[in-house]
Symmetry: C2
Subunit: 943 residues, 2 copies
């Protein structure tokens, strides 16, 4: 068992690493002065469907698509595109146009269309006739708008060039910034801005990026030159290099360029631009981009667009700055402008958490005008998009530029509150509100929180920023490696760091919570933690961390790895010891959203629960019944496991029956408890499913114990274990196959169910048991066992003298491919179907869930699979069997009741699928019931 | 591995037991004076289809079906039905009518229709109005024909009553014989036949059968009374009881009857008959019959017919007799009348082997007239049925009665010879000849035989009857239990018995051959052995067996379990020691049949072969290529396994590549050998498939050896074994999943294939390699790996300076359900599909082949499954996926080449399926190639 756990965890870890790698890349992507877009590249997978959708939308585009037109300008003088023209202008280009057209101060620029890229290839990789003429015209317009000239030697207009296809696509060309700098222009810029260090820093970045990205010189060549220079100057950090050093660095970089390119770094800005444009076009057919399109099934796109945009800088001096903000609080959803900014800084400084930024509310102290401008923009944006926005801005010498706006990521709680508030504010309708909340994000609201009573007496050490809600308790760990190791060993740990970096993601994932001493609400730790729904308190400045000694000090008190701390991600409180937590409840806005969801959904939601307590909890979350009650878990406690083992070790049917007799009352009481908790809702009880060897221990000491407890020889236990051993237990003697060989087990279970049902009915508790026969592959299994179930029901009714009605359905799980393929035959003997998509996925793919860790990470890594099929239902393959099973089943038995009880029943995408194929209900774990209810409503609304 | 083998064998054993149980039942079914039908109940499973076919045929029936008519008479005075009326008269009734109508001397009688049975139920389980009136009319006719009266007290007409539905169905009523005997009639009979013992023996049988079958008195009640009587008379066997004893026994039986039935045994013959008819009707809805129909999916039948027929006796004296015969030799197919008879005996005496019957050729010495009558009948039957017949006859006081005729079971060799002869005789056409030979029976012709050269010098101990062809060598075993135990331990044994009984079937199955000292060509041993195609020498009378001492003596020489003997089932020779055997070849009639088959079939037949020798042999059997060349077997010998283990234990890619470098030349030479053997025929090579752990030992000693041979620590080996351990290896890291993780293995294998192909082409040996990527479930696997294969092919061609064409197809196995479900996507990247129906069956059913022994026997026993789906393709479930895979595959790639390479490729029923769904070829083991060729021709002819 230990092995299994380790494997699974390892599998998850790797997957996670991958997941987290994307933001890491963004961080490292070099100068991000211009357009910080934290987390921006963590885009959802693009399917063929999305492409089609994009295509359809562009059909009704508001902008004027003129055939032959190669460039669309955006700026105050003229804006030719809009947000609907993604197919032609790419996602980025269309968005820049949209922002400009609603009057936001966006640095002007122009977009070369995707069609032009297509033409480039059609004409044998040559820039289309007339393209550079049009480019020059647009530059002229841009120069006019900006009041600067491209290539000017005293006050040069600088530009950025970026790729941007209709769908986000890794592997295409990176950004090139600062185009337009030359040996002469850099001096002009230095003089103009009065900051020679700034100017040469910009120039060396251009040479590096251009050399690397456009001309293919390895980045390491430049790095090496920089390292040598730093060594010469005796400094360690890039930022410590003096103005003089940067001037020298530019010379060295030009030498590197000359050496590897074979010619000088181009001093003609137009040449720089032309080569950059061509490099973007070429990158459309870079190996990685082609392979990405192939693997993602993307086809039918013309090419990539090229975005050329005027540069703005937030790091030219103290009248400059940069910041990010949300139009509402992304953590709680409160309707208040919520952002941070840094003076004289590049965008990435805010994200990286190197300096702690100031809240936007303090901005008036620095620049009142900019602040009020921002507030106005905020309001305008919410009105325009009718959605909470995440914006990025830069102030260049007292002038505000909007660099990005997009729907803001938010916590589940914030999503719920914002949706409800916007309905109240009449910005959106109830239906829109439902569609706005990512169903999965409700997970966060379903996490436990600290008991307010317990918190009253808590010893609060300090209060940091409430970066990501949740209530975490654990021992401090001071490095990611430590956190991973200790968490794997079963310890609950809180990762305590000054600030986290992409290297820490493994540790962050393993930790129960994250606590940082620097960094703001938009720091790495905060962003990553919110993305995962993990509890995080950031910027708790009172905490001093000594990583080497493995302790932190706060107000003179020191805590090490032996101590326990509790952190509250909703308030920022850091407390000593274990503070009690309470289970979440559905209240306020959450319950309002649930009510709306119930109003619109048509799909039932049940829960998987094996015990009365789980059943009770699920009822609280709105489950309308139990879709899967596994009976095997009931046999593991105390006396039961002994009787169970006695049963398994019995050599005759009568010995087996005697042992089962002992189990019967336990089983009956379990069912009575569950029936009472479900108060008349249907309860689907699955008969014993796992192979019998799971109930016997495999180590000798434990086997001896069993032998002693049953007063038999250990050899007898070992013999039975050996007999029960299977090479592939997943495909072995389990499920209904057990009932065929040992019908007495089935009889005992059915007796217990019927006795419990009759007892409840006598107590006036309504019951609706549904007996589910697992792992059926041929209809004869079901018909044979059904006969036995019916016989036993009749027998118990007779024994109990029960003359009144007793509604007991008898159905089966569809979890073997053959069952789906022959569902018509099976339906003749079934009152209901429940799709067991865990096993169905295992068998349809030929993957063992227990062993998939050996190759699934490689499959996800190399994008052979885009998603773990055990997490989200594979609609193409497994889904085909599900749809076939439903169609065939209902062809034979009209209105056959059909549900799903695999773990997919709580996955929103899978819930939508279940709705579409016409299931009656989904069943999932108690905590996912609200998620399923919301997803079901979304499915109904999207129908 | 040992475990696996044991399990499999155990599974097979149980299955076999079941198979053999049917003849056993026939044996025990009591008096069979009337209609011996050895092996008659080993009918093929009846499917819904058969029922439909029956129904269709009855639509064009030659007899007159008159609505309302409840009884059809058959006899010399009138015959109202015929062989086509199975639905109305049941199988037995229709056959009796047919025999009568072609003029055979069949004991007259009449059949009450199945419709009448339906009416019985429609009217609330009451004999339909007027039925008994009609019965009486038919009895009158029968009395007229037989010249005796039913219930007559001086010369009573006796009758038998039997059930008989349209399809054979276990669980319905057994036979009742001797109806019409009463206290008075028995005395009349005794006097009339002059044999009081015979008469009272008949009477006590009637009371017993009637009491048990009609009135439900437990058989044991009668048995107990008989035992007590025997004790009183101091005798042991039934046959030792005197005439006086049998008279007393009838009294005792009547007492038993009175005690448990509550009334006297009916002395009115019509009452006996009426109650018997009703009992037959009732048995139609006996639990076992209902359950059989349910499990076999039989529905739409009206009920059972009732056959009432005059009794004839072969045991009334020395002018009586009984026998069985074949119109041609069922062992060799020679066109000579071939049968055996016993004087003054019941039919079952011939079958049971208690007395050794005489060959029919000796009959003229006893009764020349009867013999010539039989010869005439034989000729008439073959003309009428145009098929070799198996007949049963009884001579009552010098009068011959035909009791049965049907197509005779025969050995494969006989089937081939008879079919060829009948074509020569112009009885049948070539096409009919092809359809006449059960493809599976060719197995027997493909068995090895003794080398004629070796036989010249053999020490022949004695010559018995050549009961079932074949050449078996082994140690004698003198009991079934011993044979089973020793065979399981790996020993080759010959079961040596005086005669076998149904209790011996396990031992017979385990043995390499069977040798008996008594019993004829139609004895139990002979019939069962022929059914299985197992070598048997019967009736070797010179052999004296001492079971207790475990030895046999022949001509003064004694042989025990330590000695070796060789038996020749084609000649009856019993030889000492090991006589050399030779492989079979296709010659004479066999090769003629194969030529005919090739003329008509459209399906290609390839072979599964991993070594040049197998490939060569398969070519000899007519394989048109290799459909599956498994590469893993190539890695187990000497140096190879060391390099393989080195590869698996390598910690870096470069170490792995170094080990693979060692394997490359071996692999290349294997392919060269196979390409040469296949002389330009296509060779499908499957890349490495099994999980890597299969190449490492799991016991510590062997691990230590590996460690020593590779000069590493044993811990390293153990660590790797532990890492590679999987809970369900069948669903784990294998097939193309290996190639995704370790592409270097794929590259080595492809290199070897391409190098071998180029080398062969240089030698002017044409090659057509097809590279097959196994276990594909998502098209991305295939597209990714195909790219790598293509890249490697190009690389090797370049290295080798090969500029000319090299046809290498790249395709995949369809063996994962998801691959069949998404075959359209996969076909875009595949040049061919090969259905791996072994794994496809495992996954579609969720059965592990290695573990299925734990429940499959129970499933077959309880008829949840009618056939092991690993032996014959499940057309309903797995077949659906196959058909879908072909359709989807070809929808995307027209004319996609498609084959099958699971073991089903050699199963005739599965071959017919493969033809029907439009495959291009099947591939099977070399010895099954001729079987597949014949089955393919049959499929084409039935199309």
């Amino acid at each position: 068992m230990a092995k299994r756990t380790t494997k699974k965890t390892a599998g998850r870890r790797k997957t996670t690493t991958k997941k987290a790698a994307a933001p890491a890349k963004v961080k490292r992507a070099g100068a991000r002065t211009h357009a910080p877009s934290r987390g921006g590249s963590v885009k959802k997978k693009t399917s063929r469907k999305t492409v089609k959708k994009v295509a359809r939308r562009s059909g009704v585009s508001r902008g004027k698509v003129r055939s032959g037109k190669m460039i669309y300008y955006f700026g105050s003088l003229r804006t030719e595109g809009d947000g609907s023209m993604k197919e032609l202008l790419g996602g980025k280009g269309a968005n820049l146009a949209e922002m400009t057209s609603i009057g936001l101060p966006v640095p002007a620029g122009f977009t070369i269309t995707t069609k032009t890229c297509g033409k480039y290839y059609d004409e044998g990789r040559k820039l289309p006739e007339g393209l550079m003429r049009e480019v020059n015209k647009n530059i002229a317009l841009l120069e006019k708008e900006m009041g600067k000239r491209f290539g000017d030697e005293s006050d040069p207009l600088l530009m950025s060039v970026r790729s941007g296809a209709a769908v986000s696509m890794p592997g295409m060309m990176d950004t090139i910034l600062n185009l337009g700098l030359t040996d002469a222009a850099v001096e002009g810029l230095a003089e103009k801005v009065g900051n020679r260090r700034f100017a040469f820093d910009a120039y060396r970045r251009l040479i590096n990026m251009f050399g690397n990205v456009v001309m293919g010189v390895a980045h390491e060549r430049f790095e090496k030159a920089f390292d040598q220079l730093k060594e010469g100057y005796g400094v360690e950090n890039d930022t410590d290099v003096s103005e003089e050093g940067l001037v020298e660095l530019c010379e060295r970089y030009k030498e590197v360029y000359r050496l590897y390119v074979g010619e000088d770094f181009p001093q003609d800005p137009i040449k720089q631009l032309e080569l950059s444009i061509e490099a973007v076009f070429k990158s459309w057919n870079a190996d990685r981009a082609i392979s990405y399109r192939r693997l993602s099934g993307i086809s039918g796109l013309e090419g990539t667009a090229v975005n050329v945009q005027a540069m703005v800088f937030g790091n030219m001096g103290d009248d400059c700055g940069t910041g990010v903000a949300f139009t509402r609080d992304p953590s709680t959803g409160k309707n208040s402008f919520y952002g941070e900014f840094l003076i004289n800084a590049q965008g990435e400084d805010v994200v990286a958490g190197i300096r702690t930024p100031k809240p936007v509310s303090e901005m008036p102290k620095w620049n009142k005008k900019i602040h009020s401008e921002l507030i106005k923009i905020k309001t305008k944006l919410e009105k325009h998009y009718r959605e909470m926005q995440d914006i990025e801005f830069t102030i260049e010498r007292g002038k505000l530029f909007m660099l990005q706006t997009r729907s803001g990521k938010r916590t589940g709680a914030a999503a719920v509150k914002i949706a409800c508030d916007m309905v109240k504010e009449k910005l959106i309708t109830e239906k829109e509100a439902i569609l706005r909340i990512p169903a999965n994000d409700l997970t966060q609201l379903l996490l436990p929180s600290f008991d307010p009573a317990a918190k009253k007496g808590a010893d609060v050490l300090t209060v940091g920023l409430p970066a990501s809600p949740g209530a975490a308790v654990g021992h401090p760990a001071f490095s990611a490696v430590q956190a991973v190791a200790r968490a794997h060993a079963g310890e609950k740990v809180i990762l305590v760091r000054n600030e986290t970096s992409p290297e820490d993601v493994d540790g962050m994932h393993s930790a129960a919570g994250i606590l940082t001493s620097t960094g703001g609400m938009t720091s790495h730790a905060a962003v990553v933690a919110r993305g995962w729904g993990k509890c995080c308190v950031a910027g708790a400045g009172a905490i001093q961390i000594d990583e080497e000694r493995g302790e932190f000090t706060v107000n003179g008190r020191t805590f090490g790895r032996g101590d326990m701390i509790s952190i509250d991600g909703s308030t920022g409180e850091v407390m000593t010891g274990v503070v009690n937590r309470i289970e979440p409840t559905l209240s306020g806005d959450f319950s309002k959203v649930m009510r709306w969801a119930d109003k619109y959904r048509t799909l039932g939601v049940r829960t998987n629960a094996d015990a009365p307590a789980d059943a009770e909890r699920a009822r609280g979350f709105g489950a309308a019944g139990i879709g899967l009650c596994r009976t095997e878990h009931m046999f593991f406690e105390g006396e039961r496991i002994t009787a169970m083992r006695q049963m398994i070790l019995a050599e005759t049917v009568s010995d087996r029956e005697a042992a089962l007799e002992t189990l019967l009352p336990f089983q009956r009481d379990d069912f009575i408890g569950i029936f009472r908790a479900m108060k008349g809702c249907p309860v689907t009880i699955r008969l014993l499913d796992p192979p019998l060897h799971e109930f016997l221990p495999h180590e000798e000491a434990a086997q001896q114990e069993v032998a002693d407890s049953l007063d038999i020889d250990v050899e007898q236990v070992q013999k039975r274990v050996a007999m029960l051993h299977e090479l592939n237990p997943m495909l072995g003697h389990r499920g209904c196959r057990l009932a065929v060989t040992y019908p007495e087990i089935l009889r005992m279970q059915v007796r217990a169910i019927v006795q419990a049902a009759i007892e409840c009915q006598r107590e006036k508790v309504k019951v609706l048991p549904e007996i589910m026969i697992p792992l059926v592959g041929v209809w004869q299994e079901l018909s044979t066992l059904r006969e036995q179930v019916e016989h036993t029901i009749a027998q118990v009714k007779h024994e109990q003298g029960w003359k009144r009605k007793l509604d007991i359905l008898i159905g089966t799980m569809i979890e073997i491919p053959r069952a789906a393929l022959t569902a018509d035959e099976i339906a003749r003997h079934a009152d209901f179907f429940s799709f067991g998509t865990n096993d169905l996925t295992q068998l349809t793919y030929g993957y063992s869930r227990d062993d998939v860790g050996t190759f699934l990470p490689d499959y996800l890594q190399s994008e052979i699979l885009s998603v773990d099929p055990f997490q989200s239902l594979d609609q193409t393959g497994v889904g085909q069997l599900v749809a076939m099973g439903i169609e065939k089943g209902r062809s034979e038995r009209k209105g056959l009741k059909i549900g799903i009880c695999g773990e997919h029943g709580g996955d929103p995408a899978s819930v939508v699928f279940c709705h579409r194929v016409g299931m009656d209900y989904v069943s999932c774990s108690p905590f996912r019931v609200p998620i399923a209810r919301l997803a079901a409503a979304q499915a109904a609304l999207l129908d």
